[in-house]
């Protein structure tokens, strides 16, 4: 067997040009599969992490109606229509409740916050801003970097002080000149004092090249939320797990704990987004893509396979005398069969490996220039190499059998 492999490499390298041309179909087929799968995988990864924030192991819990929960719980998936009004009184989540929900070794941190959208004013300047009423724990999940001033102090969180941290975009809109620190801004006509400015997550380059430097964003103490005249808002809950593979478990534990404290009459419940469901939706989309890809790939592999068969037939004919000699010396049919099958399989496997490399390189290049995510699809890589080997064996079968069946006398006489 090892000798067969050695011989195969020898005869493949003896005809480099011919071998490469023969492999071309397989290379193109495999390369296109790998490239497309790599792009899909990358897309999947980034979608997943944007949904569940694998970056910091956190998952959002939603308080929602039974229908909404049944639809998978993703706002993205569910676009309005038939949504039930929230209950008249939304129970607030107390610190005790959170402590109880915090299962050791599983739940690292829970942040409860309110979110709204408003226009912030300073003198005649206006900024469209998202409001986040948060507590300290929020920043342990989503750390921020202060540029000026300070963070909201614990005592301000505790007392419901009317203070705010604004992002760069808000600062630029409200305070085109002069410092924002200790200035007062109006949110819903309620005054808040700016204590700090924090950096946008966007990179410096993005801010430099884009006129719209992103959305305004303002953090307030959660305890100050009622001052804004909002009493019955739906709380947002973020659960951070210790391990990314326990994300759903941690989210579920906290949701269950919070649900157990709800009044028995509440139809609205806390639930985690059904990651499975979301993944299924993504997969469904990808399946259509995969089908198309599979079509292209099988055609090119079929053509490649026929090319291999053709060249193997030529090779068998060229080596008729060699076959005759081997048979005269006592080689059985199976020996000859395996020799050519091995050669054919090695040929297409090399093609497959080259195809994988070309495909990965191509996907990498595309993802680099188009700023798309990229992930090396390990199962697809292994599958491709195995598959190309199978192509070699299948299409090498007929030529190899032809070789094995040659009569020694005819093979020896061949000129």
């Amino acid at each position: 067997m090892l000798d067969n492999l050695k011989l195969s490499f020898q005869s493949i390298f003896a005809h480099k040009m011919r071998s490469v041309l023969t492999m071309l179909g397989v290379i193109i087929g495999i390369a296109s599969i790998i490239a497309i799968v790599a792009m899909i995988e990358g897309q999947k990864e980034s979608l997943k992490s944007s949904l569940v924030g694998t970056g910091n192991n956190s998952i959002a819990i939603m308080f929602q109606s039974p229908e909404a929960a049944a639809m998978g719980g993703s706002d993205m998936v569910m676009m309005g229509g038939g949504e039930e009004d929230p209950p008249d009184v939304i129970p607030t989540i107390t610190d005790e409740q959170l402590e109880e929900a915090k299962v050791p070794d599983l739940v690292k941190s829970i942040a409860v916050f309110y979110q709204n959208y408003t226009q912030a004013y300073h003198l005649n300047n206006l900024s469209d801003s998202e409001l986040y009423a948060v507590d300290d724990k929020y920043f342990s999940i989503f750390p921020i970097k202060m540029l000026e001033g300070r963070k909201i102090a614990p005592v301000e969180h505790k007392n419901g002080s009317q203070v705010a941290m604004i992002n760069e975009a808000t600062r630029d809109a409200l305070f085109p000149e002069g410092s924002a620190i200790n200035q007062v801004i109006e949110l819903n006509k309620v005054p808040f004092r700016v204590v700090g400015v924090y950096a946008d997550e966007k990179s410096e380059e993005d801010n430099m090249f884009m006129m719209d430097a992103g959305m305004g964003k303002i953090y307030l103490p959660k305890s100050a939320w009622p001052h804004l005249g909002s009493f019955n808002d739906i709380p947002q809950v973020l659960v951070q797990a210790y391990h990314s593979d326990q994300l759903e478990e941690a989210g579920q534990v906290v949701a269950d704990s919070l649900n157990s404290q709800l009044p028995a009459t509440s139809t609205w419940q806390y639930s985690i987004p059904d990651l499975q469901q979301i993944m299924e939706d993504i997969n469904e989309f990808n399946q259509a893509f995969t089908l198309l890809l599979g079509g292209i790939a099988s055609i090119s592999l079929l053509v490649g396979g026929i090319g291999v068969m053709n060249i193997m037939l030529v090779s068998v004919t060229e080596r008729t005398r060699e076959i005759g000699i081997k048979k005269a010396l006592g080689a059985k049919r199976s020996v000859i069969l395996w020799q050519f099958l091995t050669e054919s399989a090695v040929l297409t496997s090399i093609g497959g490996i080259i195809g994988v490399l070309v495909g990965l390189g191509g996907a990498k290049a595309i993802s680099y220039f188009a700023h798309l995510p990229f992930a090396a699809p390990v199962p697809a890589i292994i599958g491709s190499v195995v598959f190309s080997m199978a192509v070699g064996i299948i299409f090498g079968l007929i030529p190899s059998m032809k070789a094995a069946k040659m009569k020694p006398i005819d093979a020896l006489r061949y000129e």
């Binding site: 020898q10 005869s11 005759g324 000699i325 081997k326 005269a328 010396l329 006592g330 059985k332």
Partner: protein, 229 residues
């Protein structure tokens, strides 16, 4: 050891039957050194192919070492060739991509001898034909005489019952021919049965027995008590 009985061989050219061998009866015993002579086209190679289990006669019986050969399947014939017969061809028939050592080893590969033993035996055989220092040469790097000696080493390696040599000196000059023929004589002295096919009287002189063929029939079968040299 070798018994051909009433062997006939015909080829079909289209629908026409062309008889080549006519009623050949031939027995060769162990240790003999036989030459088969005859003009070109008389059927020498055809007999050799039948003896070598490479081809089958149209009718007749071939008993090798007490066993009938003709009913055997292809794989069994491969085994018989591997165990009983060593081939030496006019055009050497070495595999061009393999070294002398690997060429000589081939029959042992098919006999499933392990690698180490294979190599030792092959080096012994090459030493015997005087090519110890050409072990790693490829056929293209060897002279005609050297190639034929590699082929003889290959024919010997399985300790066959007999060696079939079809015009072994056909492509060689006088000196190389002499060397090869002396090798055969030496082997025969060691007890190896040799069947030598040639159309050259001078080469046939090396054998102890000469069979003459004409138009596919044996016309003379003579033994020499004292053979040349």
């Amino acid at each position: 050891m070798i018994h051909l009985k009433n062997i006939n061989k015909s080829y079909w050219i289209g629908k026409e039957e062309v008889p080549i061998l006519h009623n050949i009866n031939l027995s060769i015993e162990e240790g003999e050194y036989v030459s088969i002579m005859g003009p070109s086209g008389s059927g020498k190679s055809t007999i050799m192919n039948i003896l070598g289990c490479l081809d089958t006669p149209t009718s007749g019986e071939y008993i090798l070492d007490g066993n009938s050969v003709l009913s055997r399947k292809e794989n069994e014939l491969s085994k018989i060739r591997n165990e009983y017969i060593g081939f030496v061809f006019q055009n050497f028939n070495l595999l061009p991509r393999l070294t002398a050592l690997d060429n000589v080893q081939l029959p042992l590969v098919y006999a499933k001898v392990n690698k180490k033993e294979r190599k030792e035996l092959a080096i012994d055989a090459l030493t015997k034909v005087g090519l110890k220092d050409r072990v790693n040469f490829k056929p293209t790097q060897l002279s005609g005489g050297q190639k034929q000696r590699v082929a003889i080493a290959r024919a010997l390696i399985n300790k066959p019952k007999f060696i079939l040599a079809d015009e072994p000196t056909g492509a060689l000059d006088t000196a190389s021919s002499e060397q090869v023929m002396n090798l055969f004589t030496e082997l025969n002295k060691e007890g190896v049965t040799i069947v030598l096919i040639t159309h050259e009287e001078e080469i046939a002189q090396y054998a102890k027995r000469s069979i003459f063929l004409r138009d596919g029939a044996i016309i003379k079968d003579e033994r020499r008590e004292l053979h040349a040299r």
